[in-house]
């Protein structure tokens, strides 16, 4: 289990977080089961760091992000942000906390209201939270647009007049408006073209340095996560299977899933690509409504044994700062 005590370095502490979505069937809409999207996830995020959260589609990484921000009411577990337990906060208290935690969404086409101008979009958080009034709003908006390298003269335009990369900058400006300390970036670049991705990632890195921001960077692109993160957590079917510093995770992955995932990423270099050893996983990810017993990964795992079906491997600290949920992780040490 991740360290229980909170120290000053820890901005966010997530403990055994669960988010189950009920499945209703029949005339009376009785609950017949649950999609266990997030099923017992624990980790810390340190102040000023970027924690990467990677996994394939449907592994629960986005749900984890949304549940941390209390956009979904968690089924179980706790989320502690700057020492305050978010799960039991209500109404106005929660609203006040939201100023400090913001989100950048994946799809810059769907996440901006097409009927609002850029000034309204970026100014909206300021108005909602009474952070500025009147002319001050326009000033702040202009400043925010400059921060994300957009011309403040564009403030009167509508989202459809911008390209994908520019829209994502608007999304970043909106997230920055209330001067948060923590931003969850939910696949912020996966909808963008390759040459535009680098622009947005460089911007996020500059802003982090300038404002001492803390990021939870959710993505499926392992190369980009390696680039931007200080530490990386790997998710599979609702649970974190491995968490370590980025150098250690990429150099010496200890969980068989992480190993397979890393070996599947194509490298843009034919020589290096040809030299690699590939682990190709068989089959598909099982349904989170009916996950396998014991270790979630055992159905596709190349080294699974009988014990893996019987009990769930503990998420344990195998080396300082390196957590892994596998009975046989020692083999790879």
């Amino acid at each position: 289990m991740v360290t229980k005590e909170m120290n000053n370095d820890t901005l966010l502490h997530v403990d055994d977080l669960k988010m189950h979505f009920p499945i209703h069937r029949g005339v009376f809409q009785r609950q017949v089961g649950a999609v266990r999207a997030v099923d017992g996830v624990s980790f810390d995020v340190k102040r000023g760091e970027t924690l990467g959260l990677v996994g394939e589609s449907g592994c629960g990484k986005s749900t984890t992000g949304r549940t941390i921000l209390q956009l979904y009411k968690p089924t179980g577990g706790s989320v502690t942000f700057e020492g305050t337990d978010l799960v039991n906060l209500k109404g106005e208290q929660m609203r006040q906390m939201r100023r400090k935690m913001q989100m950048i969404f994946q799809d810059p086409y769907a996440s901006l209201n097409p009927r609002m101008t850029v000034a309204q979009l970026v100014g909206e958080p300021l108005m909602v939270h009474n952070a500025a009034t009147g002319a001050e709003i326009n000033e702040r908006v202009a400043h925010l647009l400059e921060l994300v390298n957009l011309n403040p003269a564009f403030a009167t335009r509508y989202p459809h007049e911008f390209s994908g990369g520019q829209r994502q900058r608007i999304g970043v400006a909106r997230a920055l408006a209330l001067q948060p300390s923590f931003i969850i970036c939910d696949e912020p670049i996966s909808a963008l073209d390759v040459s535009i991705q680098a622009q947005v990632v460089n911007l996020l890195e500059e802003l982090q340095e300038q404002f001492n921001l803390t990021y939870l960077f959710i993505a499926h692109d392992l190369s980009m996560v390696r680039h931007i993160s200080d530490r990386v957590a790997v998710m599979y079917l609702g649970v974190i299977v491995e968490l370590a510093t980025r150098d250690e995770l990429y150099a010496k992955p200890l969980h068989p899933y992480t190993q397979a995932l890393l070996s599947a990423v194509p490298i843009p270099d034919p020589v290096a690509d040809a030299k690699r050893k590939r682990t190709i996983l068989q089959g598909d990810v099982p349904s989170p409504a009916n996950p396998p017993s014991g270790c979630r990964f055992r159905t596709r795992c190349p080294i699974a044994e009988a014990v893996c079906a019987e009990s769930r491997p503990e998420f344990r600290e195998i080396r300082p700062g390196h957590f892994v949920a596998c009975f046989f992780a020692e083999r790879f040490l």
């Binding site: 073209d193 040459s195 392992l222 190369s223 599947a264 690509d273 190709i280």
Partner: protein, 329 residues
């Protein structure tokens, strides 16, 4: 002149839109050798998909129009063929796999029915022969219990399995060429690795030529022998795969490779970013289409669009500037 099984010359395609005529493909020429795997790389809107759809006669007209060019396949120009004739080439001699396996399959027909259709249509198999062959094809692409699974509908298959079905369908009539348009983009990396492994195996077994269209330079590195890079409806660089990655010549290719983080990255460096964004061409450009984003751009670049110039053995790039010296070639 090498012996190309597909030889495309001077292809131009436009689309009529409310904002004006968009020049999507502006004189693209390339050849495909027998058994070769050709990667076509570029960002969205660069014309890579439209090029292949034009060759196959799949451009919806209107609004699209193939304005000029030739596409010679076994002695015939595909662009001049009647709809009926090209329908017999597509599916039979040239197989296709598209990006989205969820929408490329008909949801109300069983997988078996959809696999049998081209076999009966193009090869003239009987229903029973087609059934048997369909089961063989499914097991060839690695789907267990193939015979039983023929009766399933697409929604009963996962994304990766649907893409396997698409590949089985494309290869069902033993085509000489397989055109794959971003076939792994909608899939997760571990599933992508499965599909690429499958394609490599089938290529070795069946020996067809492949045109693999993608925006992912990583995917092409592990698969193609030769690569075309497209930008603004032009081929801007062409080289054997190792040469392209070790000695990229066009500033766009250099920028694209520099903007990619690598999973085997040694230390954290700032990503190289290409400022600005790809163009939408409302008229055929007189200047180099990349000039507005290019840090090496010089006067000549604004005056004349460079043709593909030979820069090395089998290596051509459409750029006036030698990026190593910063001087005119």
């Amino acid at each position: 002149m090498p012996d190309f099984i597909l030889d495309v010359q001077g292809l131009e395609t436009t689309f009529r839109t409310p904002d004006g005529v968009v020049h999507a493909v502006n004189g693209v020429s390339f050849g495909l050798l027998e058994g070769e795997t050709l990667g076509v790389v570029g960002e969205s809107g660069c014309g890579k998909s439209v090029t292949m759809l034009s060759v196959l006669g799949l451009i919806p007209s209107p609004p699209g129009k193939v304005e000029a060019g030739k596409a010679i396949f076994s002695g015939q120009d595909l662009l001049k063929m009647s709809k009926e004739d090209i329908r017999h080439v597509r599916g039979a001699q040239i197989g296709m796999v598209f990006q989205d396996p969820m929408t490329s399959l008909n949801p109300v027909l069983t997988i078996g029915r959809q696999l049998e259709e081209p076999l009966m249509l193009h090869i003239g198999m009987t229903k029973n022969q087609a059934r048997e062959r369909a089961a063989e094809l499914l097991s060839m692409v690695g789907i267990p219990n193939a015979k039983d699974r023929l009766n399933d509908y697409p929604h009963q298959y996962s994304g990766g399995m649907r893409q396997r079905v698409m590949i089985a369908m494309a290869l069902s009539c033993s085509p000489q060429i397989l055109i794959a348009d971003e076939p792994t983009t909608a899939l997760d990396v571990t599933i992508q690795a499965q599909i690429m492994d499958l394609v490599k195996r089938l290529r070795d077994e069946l020996g067809m030529a492949i045109i693999w269209i993608t925006h992912d330079l990583g995917v092409v590195a592990g698969l193609a022998q030769r690569v075309l890079v497209m930008y603004g409806g032009f081929i801007i660089e062409e080289a054997p795969v190792q040469e392209l990655y070790s000695n990229p010549e066009h500033p766009y290719t250099i920028g694209l490779l520099g903007s990619l983080p690598r999973v085997d990255e040694k230390e954290r460096t700032k990503l190289f970013s290409i400022e600005g964004q790809p163009p939408v061409l409302y008229q055929k450009p007189d200047a180099c289409p990349f000039a507005p984003r290019c840090k090496w751009a010089m006067e000549h670049c604004w005056q004349e669009n460079p043709p593909l110039l030979v820069v090395g053995p089998e290596h051509r790039a459409a750029c006036w500037v030698d990026t190593r010296t910063g001087r005119h070639r």
